[in-house]
């Protein structure tokens, strides 16, 4: 049961983050940080299909995570989802066409290993 929940969380997080990054790049860089600008931002994002799909994925991931921490320790839940760092870096390279230098690959890999070790 725990691992089934982890699989759902990993899949939904990975897809959700890639859609979110794609949607925000389509929106363009945010320069204004006032309250009015914030309201306009939310109304624009609410009509961005990529962002809507991303929020749905994140909702699935979030509620599944709530279910997981209700039956398992956080020290199991957090490290079990570490593999998302590697998956997302691969998808960032091939779907988002990001330029990923060896420094970033190494960094992402170190983070994933580090998160996995936190379980002990």
């Amino acid at each position: 049961m725990r691992w089934a929940l982890v699989a759902v969380i990993v899949a939904a997080t990975t897809v959700g983050d890639v859609l979110k990054a794609k949607g925000m790049k389509a929106h363009g860089e945010i320069h204004e940080f006032g309250l009015g600008a914030f309201g306009r931002l939310l109304s624009v994002l609410a009509r961005n299909k990529l962002i809507i799909a991303s929020v749905l994925c994140m909702a699935i991931s979030f509620f599944t995570f709530m279910a997981l921490v209700s039956i398992a320790d956080l020290s199991f839940a957090v490290p079990a989802t570490a593999v998302t760092y590697v998956f997302e870096t691969i998808l960032a390279r091939y779907i988002l066409k990001e330029h990923i230098s060896w420094v970033r690959w190494t960094g992402a890999y170190l983070v994933a290993c580090g998160v996995a070790l936190l379980a002990r």
Binding site: I30, V78, H99
Partner: protein, 136 residues
């Protein structure tokens, strides 16, 4: 870039405090695995869960703002500094034991964060651009 640093800090802090509050609240709510939405909605009435969810909304919006100019392959590793904060908070505030393996994990995450933080938030594909220039 100053705004990259500010939003990175906001993403990290809201995530750590949000998860902590949510977990604390879910401990009080109890076991919850259901396909029906009602038990989840009922859980939101726990004040710790509600506070955690509010902070996670701040986290979501600040992460989306950061992603509007920074690469996903930059944002994810850099904001994982939150794991280190969460582990250290457990050590110093909750007096949890941190095993050797966990210290090693903390060290690896900090090395990964430091490496990725040194790269530009939006890396230009320099090699590809010059190759295209040469082809022309």
């Amino acid at each position: 870039m100053l705004k990259t640093r500010i939003f990175t800090a906001l993403v990290v802090v809201s995530n750590v405090l949000g998860n902590f509050s949510l977990t604390w609240g879910m401990r009080q709510v109890g076991r919850l695995v259901s396909l029906s939405p009602w038990p989840y909605i009922a859980a939101l009435f726990n004040p710790w869960v509600a506070f955690g969810v509010s902070l996670l909304i701040v986290w979501l919006i600040s992460q989306m703002t950061l992603l509007s100019w920074a690469d996903l392959s930059y944002v994810l590793p850099v904001t994982s500094a939150g794991y280190v904060l969460a582990a250290l908070a457990g050590r110093f505030f909750l007096h949890e034991e941190i095993s050797l393996a966990r210290w090693l994990g903390i060290g690896l995450i900090m090395m990964g964060v430091a490496m990725v933080a040194k790269t530009a938030p939006r890396a230009k594909p320099a090699a590809r651009a010059s190759a295209a220039g040469a082809a022309r």
